[in-house]
């Protein structure tokens, strides 16, 4: 009995010290992590609205939440509106379809009529040299000028990356989901 108490106290003490160390590290890196994430996101947001000078992005968490609730598009993570000065230039939809090595975090930019202006990948974990080509502009360019009525099927409308069908399909699915989400939220 005495032993158990002694062991318990030792263990608790060590855990407490470890927790303290972690709290300090967390506090020290918290802001930097948030800043990095935001920067990465913003970079992708700018890519999907090419030609818009000094775009302003406004998150529409209400729409993203509504979409999630209806379970129509489970992979949607963010919805935002893009403005150039006062005028609205389009809507961006951030979506995370499942690829080969995990989720592909990507953004689709659409103009006010729902035509895709650009697609960019924020982060992904696809096989380097193979699936990673699905995150490169050369492949993503193919998704330009689509609208909610067009199909984005691999090997029909879009040339897949050879050897990386799964990654290619995931990106196409992401774009499709974004187009559908646009239709759902149009005019809101």
């Amino acid at each position: 009995m005495k032993d158990i108490v002694k062991l318990g106290i030792t263990l608790a003490l060590i855990c407490a010290i470890a927790a303290g160390g972690l709290a300090l590290t967390y506090a020290a890196t918290k802001d930097e992590i948030a800043r990095q994430l935001q920067e990465q996101q913003l970079k992708a947001y700018r890519i999907v609205f090419p030609g818009v000078k000094n775009p302003i992005f406004k998150h529409r968490e209400d729409l993203a939440k509504a979409l999630k609730k209806e379970e129509k598009t489970e992979a949607i993570t963010h919805v935002f509106d893009a403005y150039s000065g006062e005028s609205k230039v389009g809507r961006g939809i951030q979506v995370a379809p499942r690829g080969y090595g995990g989720f592909i975090n990507m953004v689709v930019g659409l103009d006010v009529e729902g035509k895709t202006l650009g697609v960019a990948v924020v982060s992904h974990n696809e096989t380097p040299g193979l699936g990673s080509a699905a995150a490169e502009p050369k492949f993503l360019e193919q998704f330009k000028d689509k609208d909610p009525s067009s199909t984005v099927e691999i090997n029909k409308d879009i040339d897949a990356i050879s050897g990386a069908t799964k990654s290619s399909k995931a990106v196409a699915k992401g774009v499709k989901e974004a187009l559908e989400a646009f239709k759902e939220t149009e005019g809101k």
Partner: protein, 207 residues
């Protein structure tokens, strides 16, 4: 004393290289050695954890009762892994993204728990530090060799911090065998390195 430390340090590089000789921690090594850059950062992360967890575990070994040593090791190791995880996420987000799940998985890397149990729990702080560093260098070294080989042969180019050091696909029209960066390539590369080392060792011994 210095000679002992040096021997402990060297021990991890060839005689007891965690990957080639002890054959532990292979999973992460095979997975992240697709690129030299990822291999280097994974090696640094694991070395950091190994070094500090060895020091702390050695320092508290006298108050660590036998019955609870494993949970204590895990707490110490997990704390250092989380520190590495947060730091990498804050300052090297691109590499963190690429390493993905392998950074948090350092917690369950056998090398670290193995060294805690086999070495740090039984030896002094300085010797444990030397052992941790040596094991880390041995791990990083092999990871780098595999990473450099697999990236060069498997993708035909070498990219470091978004800078392309060379691109054989452009300069000499080399078409890389993709298998080298896929999973089978990891096993093949590792097998060949091991075979070479064994060959070298048996030749040295027979002399």
């Amino acid at each position: 004393m210095l000679a002992t430390l040096w021997r402990d340090f060297k021990n991890g590089i060839i005689p007891e290289n965690p990957l080639l000789r002890l054959m532990i921690g292979l999973c992460s090594a095979l997975a992240v050695s697709t690129r030299a850059e990822s291999a280097l950062f994974m090696g640094i992360a694991a070395t950091f954890v190994l070094f500090f967890s060895n020091i702390i575990i050695s320092a508290i070994r006298k108050v660590t009762a036998d019955q609870i040593r494993i949970p204590i090791f895990i707490v110490v190791i997990a704390s250092f892994v989380t520190i590495v995880d947060l730091t990498m996420r804050a300052y090297f987000p691109v590499i963190y993204d690429r390493l993905g799940v392998w950074v948090p998985l350092i917690v369950v890397n056998c090398i670290i728990l193995g060294r805690a149990e086999a070495f740090a729990y039984r030896h002094g702080i300085l010797r444990s530090a030397a052992d941790g560093m040596g094991m880390g260098v041995g791990y990083t070294g092999l990871l780098l060799i595999m990473g450099i080989f697999r990236e060069t042969v498997g993708s035909g180019k070498m990219v470091f911090f978004d800078k392309t050091l060379f691109d054989l696909t452009r300069s000499i029209g080399f078409s890389p065998p993709r298998i080298v960066i896929l999973f089978p390539g990891a096993f093949l590369t590792f097998g060949f390195i091991m075979a070479l080392l064994n060959k070298w060792e048996s030749r040295r011994r027979s002399k």
